[in-house]
């Protein structure tokens, strides 16, 4: 099958959805003429014009406000927030409007917006261009958090997100943009709220999303040599969380590692560990292991950044720890 880069797969989803539905429009800084900081909105402005592709000023709150209000009337905005760190500037609109409009007005309004944003370290871009803020978004009932790890999933999940009635925060790990993979040409949706078993196994379950998924799969290959069988699960949607797939897996393997790039404390893996502790305690042969970033800002020095953020070695060691417990 045809190969596309992660960023091209996202771009194709946007092209196809804008073609399919005139209510879909895109806004963000430099998404028009330039085609976006990472090229994800390339060609849209030329094809659909400035009404449907808006180059905005640096006004994240207003960009999210515009998206919410337009979505209230039935339009389908896709708003690009250049770096996930800037979500701080969108917080009022996401937390107080996107997430709550449907609830507090008893179903009269919905906010079907998609906030796309580039997260993650590895670019040596430090404090304000490297964070993994997914946990910030996980404590807001009403918000759906999506995090693809391959080009195929990037396209299918973005398509599903644009078509969803719910407000969605869609993370694009910036180190994945240039990775390649098979992507069908026709448009397709992948289910939101559903995890994907990326590799079946029997000894340890590893939950890993975005960039971490690659490390987990590599560790699975490595440990095969030692006849250790990993089951690797990509949650794909972080909220709402597909408990069933994870519980089924833990019931089989009795061991769980959660790998995530964000700071350990209060992170995504902490929630999974809590859930498994609540509902699966008697199945566990070892404590749930979290492999995560140090509880530190993402430093500028490459040496420090690599020390702070978890990589392949940390994932591998975390899995071994659980096996040796």
């Amino acid at each position: 099958m045809r190969q596309l880069k992660f960023s091209q797969a996202l771009n194709e989803a946007l092209h196809q959805e804008m073609e399919r539905d005139e209510d879909v429009f895109v806004l963000g800084q430099d998404v028009g003429k330039m085609g976006g900081d990472f090229g994800v909105t390339k060609g849209l402005w030329k094809k659909y014009g400035e009404k449907r592709v808006i180059d905005t000023p640096l006004s994240e709150a207003a960009m999210l406000g515009l998206s919410n209000g337009a979505a209230f009337t039935g339009l389908r905005p896709v708003v690009e927030i250049m770096f996930a760190d800037f979500i701080t500037e969108c917080f009022d609109q996401i937390v107080n409007n996107s997430a709550k409009a449907h609830y507090m007005f008893a179903g009269q309004l919905t906010a079907p917006i998609v906030l796309r944003t580039a997260n993650g370290g590895g670019f040596r871009a430090a404090y304000h261009h490297s964070q993994n803020p997914e946990a910030w978004l996980m404590n807001i009932p009403g918000i759906t958090v999506v995090a693809p790890s391959t080009p195929y999933e990037a396209k299918g999940l973005l398509t599903a997100s644009i078509r969803s009635e719910n407000p969605i925060v869609f993370f694009e790990h910036k180190m994945l943009y240039s990775t390649s993979g098979e992507v069908p040409e026709e448009n397709y949706e992948l289910p939101l709220g559903k995890a994907k078993v990326k590799k079946e196994g029997t000894d340890v379950t590893v939950i890993a999303s975005m960039k971490m998924c690659e490390y987990a799969l590599k560790a699975a290959k490595e440990l095969e040599k030692e006849e250790i069988s990993l089951e690797v699960i990509d949650p794909r949607t972080l909220v709402p969380f597909d408990k069933e797939t994870i519980f089924d897996s833990v019931a089989k393997t009795n061991r769980l590692v959660v790998a995530y790039e964000a700071p350990k404390t209060g992170g995504y893996g902490a929630e999974i560990a809590g859930l498994v502790n609540d509902e699966m305690f008697e199945f566990l042969k070892a404590p749930v292991k979290r492999v995560a970033s140090l509880d530190s800002p993402v430093a500028f020095s490459p040496k420090l950044e690599d020390h702070i953020l978890p990589g392949y070695e940390e994932v591998l060691n975390g899995i071994k720890e659980v096996i040796d417990y």
Binding site: A62, G65, L66, N68, F72, M104, A106, Q108, F241
Partner: protein, 330 residues
Amino acid sequence: MGLNVDKLKQMYYHMNLIRRFEEKVDEHSKKGDIPGFIHLSIGQEACQTGVMHVLTENDYKFPDHRSHGICLLSGSSKEKVMAEIFAKKTGLCEGKGGSMHIADVEVGNMGNNAIEGSITATSLGTAYASKYRDEDNVTAVFIGDGTCGRGELHESMNMAANLKVPLIYILVNNGYAISTRAEEAHSFPEHLSDRAAGYDMPSEVVDGNDVKKVYNAMERAVNRARNGEGPSMIELLTYRWQGHFSGDPASYRPGNEVEKWKEEKCPIKNLRSKLENKGVQAGTLDKLEEDALKEVEEMVEFALNSPEPDLEDATKYIYAEKYESMKEGE
């Protein structure tokens, strides 16, 4: 549409309706029948009435926290507005909204919001939607003087003017943000709304206790918006007679300030004398006042006799669309 005597009489009725409504809400808030914070707009009835008489049900309205009157005059079932404030299942939002979060999308009330200024950014989106679909409805968003400090407002004004969307910012300057006067916490030339000029946006300062002046200014702004000339700001100078919330003793206000506004600038008395000068009989006006009170009493009856939400409602409407992986009740 001009303001003939019939229209002015209708406005008189509406201003009385708002005042009686607020008095009843105050009474039942203090009695404990109404939960939560209640912000009353007694003294500001001309602002709400003048603006709402220009708008139609097709226009988008974003009321703020002090906007029961906007909800009443939007075309909603008024008893459902009251029931919502009483947190009853029969309310416009099934009792989930309350005084500060009332929407009725059918009539263009897009919901108020307890994060002051948040709606200034959201309203940009409904206004953009009108432009997107080439429709001639407008969006009106309400803010107070204190809210002029919010960044979302400034981001919104900048983008609204650049995109030339049909959006009208209605700045109800009632002299206070809780206890703080605008000049104590803001920096501006002569009026807060002078800031609009910095965004190349027309603005007007109007006596907010004169319903005709409010109406006329709003009509000018709406005409500009419908003609594709973009956003405007109108600043309505007024005064809230009570404290910030029902029960606030408002000891931060000097001497006889309140009494002066009540005696010299009551918006209802002001309109009444205009109507009497036009030859409307005192008896006719008294009758309108009585009718307004009766209508409000019926709303209260309805609200008091309505049921509260059911416990199952606690997790209803969290997601607009359920996902496959979700179990019942999640």
